[in-house]
Symmetry: C3
């Protein structure tokens, strides 16, 4: 197969290497056209359960900032013109095959290290396979809810379950680089701040295990808090989903400011709390990062989904967030396109913002370079001990 | 009377025709200077009840983004220089007379179709008269609360009232293009999501009718939900006020995200829910439109009231909102100026945003044209069956 | 000592003089390097209590928009190159001495009048000394909570305490230009709107005085409301902290929209309510200013802390806020740098926004000048009777 290079993929020659501090795996096979679109949206369509789309309003999820960004940035990496038709793009994708598409898009992304939340289901590349396909390095982030659900799958009773969770977290603290929680999805972020007492945890475990259908999700708030505090006590960075995501969550219950009392309660431990995504509450996340030394902010899927507006959103994050507290990530899941788009949009947005500030005399050039390096990966390297 | 043309009214030659999917009527006569200013603000001043302005702070509602936009865009349509003094503008207005001013401003607006919420009081042009004055077409949107209040004016009892409401909605579904609700004003948007049971509806109707002063407004939350669900069951688009408006509402109770559970509950019906205005919660509205197939977003009075900042707000709406889910409207009420200003600000903001994206290579030119056509009216034509 | 002028300090020759309608004092001595950084952040670090910064994440509060803005704007005023290293800046500062640094920075700031909230502790210049150092004028704003806490320090009983508070407010109404409340910090802004009855106030005073540790802060919600209403009845402007500040507050409890019912309840009095800071809820503050004649908005520490993004935030404030309702201030505290930075960022942001609007034909030049003059100080002069 001929492998044309990507003549029109914009490049950022002096940009520092990226460390993607929050992402998921890439599909081993596919996806086809319908399911491809499903990965361009957080809506429950195509990718699985359909949320009930009315017959009156058919439309394509390619008609979004993310869809346009995929056609702009990824088409050249597959040897096509930017902004080619979705059909041509999907045809070329099928022609090249999943493996080749994955390799090309990942390598064009210029991401040298990945922290992979391995808690999502699906036939996904492992961190090791992702590392190989991208010629980078990859490390694991352990999702607390998945760890607990796996423990529940095999536990005989609450005692055994809690022992298994405890051992799982201890083990993860040895092998993984950090933890992740989706308490935002399961309970919202307005959690009680204090760690729950042992007897209450035991009673909640008992109740949950007895009521749990096979494969049932954890959403008990006491157990969630137990997981959060168990992670905090390890001292490893704890990533927390905040802001927008799929419609399983209520966005107004995912404002990171709802975590304020938990943030206060955990401050004495110094364990880094990393607020993921944050949109549209990213200014509040920046505030938390500004006034609490152990809080960090990330933009995750925000830049990818806002596309041509990424610089505007990144600009808002760069209002209050101290520059050493902001972390690049893509939140890529399923499609290798999401790595390339997330990386390019960040490079473009960051370059555009800092170029303007330097041109106007508001920042010095060396400050712009140093801040860019921090956000691209410098801070994450230090934070996760890479 | 001499009728100078408007030499300096900026034009957008290739812009598609506009469909104003949410507006009100235009005054038959007047207004005079004091009441004119009252139509430039959502405050309760001049237009009627005065909210208690202190003697210390007199100021003109011309000194707002909307006031400046009126002087910029409407003065040329009346043969004056842009940004002429308010006094000159009002003098010229009086000189030309209401009919001529209305015709000129409406025709300069370039809106070819109007969906008119006929639920506001006042000596306003009917949809038919609006159509004639503008040389466009006009259709009706039925305001649920007004329909219920009219039914209450003549009903003998709860049974008769509910039958009349039911018949009114059935009738409206035959003759109108959609429904509108101002539940945001009456109860806030944090409504219980499920349809209320028949006996509860009956009891609430009974209580409301017995306590209602003549002409009293509907604000009973059970009856509001009954109206909403009755409209949802017709399948016609349902417009919901969200975000800012006059001080009868509490803005923090009008965040469209408060509707999330109602949105989930109505998803199986596929009935389009159209979130109006949305500001300053428009990013949350974009999220709902992104993840729920039956949700649409509109910007209504937002662009008119933010004037020189309209492009910034529209840019934010174009972050998460799928391009086929965003709808132009003016929310114009009373003044024909509000049609022209809303239309020009949208054309300018949309042109500015997309030109920049095309110039930077982020969008293709044909995509920009196609998205503009969707928002200007293409999506609304499909949605309302025009 | 040689006193080089500041060759590269950008100037705004035609800009009207500034009235800083909300600020605090300047330190009499120091600060040193560590405590200097503490004044660049709202975090509880260095300046006093440390919030528990983890060993893993050392960073400098110079690495923030405010830190960069200080190096940009203040270095030239001390005879250094813009963006010089923090070490050089602090060295030069030590070399010149506090008095000289204060004089230079204040005079470079171009602020001709200051309204000083004297309720913060610390070895600070008095309003009179600030006036002298800056060659401007200074007036006092009385902080309600401080007034009450001082009364509590010496009161024998609730009766005496309330009499002292009452007398203190009467006296302040004769000598000061307005009042300030930090109810946001003490109770959040979701206060009951109505004035509390006399017996309830008495009982709360009784309880608070009996439980209060020496020097204890006022946070009783009934007493807070009593203070607010006592101030409202004087008719003098009442400044209210809203939006971000140090981590003693919960930011989500400081949304100015939470004050809506209090705003409604106070409307008949016409007493100006001035919402301070507002970020990131400044669009909601603009809404309140737009629909309630007695509400004003200020940006306070918002522009200083957002630095290179100040124009973006100011642009958002200029969406709904009527132009005669927006007030300049710096919220400067401790460092004279904060006056210069606040003033320069405002001048730059305002000039940039209005220049663009004039260039695009959206505003006329004379309107831009007139609005600038209002915000810079014209409205505040009228409001505070200067």
């Amino acid at each position: 197969m001929s492998a044309p290079t990507a003549p029109s993929l914009p490049s950022f020659p002096s940009f520092p290497p990226l460390l993607d501090q929050h992402c998921h795996g890439v599909l081993r096979v596919g996806p086809g056209r319908t399911s491809f679109e499903g990965y361009l949206t957080e809506a429950h369509v195509a990718r699985g359960c359909d949320g009930g789309q009315g017959a009156r309003a058919p439309f394509s999820y390619f008609d979004t900032q993310l869809g346009f960004a995929v056609r702009r940035w990824c088409a050249p990496a597959l040897g096509l013109e930017p902004h080619c038709r979705p059909e041509s793009y999907l045809e070329r994708r099928a022609e090249l095959g999943t493996g080749e598409v994955t390799r090309r898009l990942l390598r064009a992304g210029g991401i040298s290290a990945f922290l992979v939340d391995t808690g999502l289901p699906g036939p996904l590349l492992t961190p090791g396979e992702l590392a190989e396909a991208s010629a980078g390095e990859a490390h694991e982030i352990v999702r607390l809810e998945r760890l607990a659900e796996r423990a529940a799958d095999t536990a005989r009773d609450a005692h055994g379950f809690l022992a298994e969770v405890s051992e799982g977290i201890r083990e993860a603290a040895r092998t993984a680089r950090g933890f992740k929680s989706v308490v935002a999805y399961r309970c919202g972020l307005d959690v009680e701040p204090a760690p729950p007492g042992a007897s209450r945890v035991h009673a909640s475990a008992d109740r949950w295990l007895s009521e749990r259908p096979p494969g049932g999700r954890l959403s008990d708030p006491v157990l969630e808090r137990h997981l959060l505090w168990s992670a905090v006590r390890t001292g490893l960075p704890l990533q927390l989903h905040t802001g927008f995501g799929d419609p399983d969550l209520r966005l107004d219950h995912c404002d990171p400011l709802l975590l304020t009392d938990f943030v206060r309660a955990t401050a004495p431990y110094g364990t880094p709390l990393v607020l993921l995504h944050c949109y549209p509450y990213h200014r509040g996340a920046g505030y938390l990062a500004a006034v609490f030394p152990h809080v960090y902010a990330d933009f995750g899927l925000t830049l990818s989904h806002t596309g041509a507006r990424a610089h505007a959103v990144l600009g808002e994050l760069l209002e209050l967030t101290p520059f050493g507290k902001l972390l690049f990530s893509t939140d890529a899941y399923g499609l290798p396109e999401l790595y390339l788009v997330g990386a390019q949009l960040f490079r473009e947005a960051m370059t555009r913002l800092t170029s303007e500030w330097v041109a106007r005399g508001e920042w010095s050039r060396s400050d712009a370079e140093s801040v860019t390096a921090m956000i691209a990966g410098g801070t994450a390297r230090r934070l996760y001990g890479l």
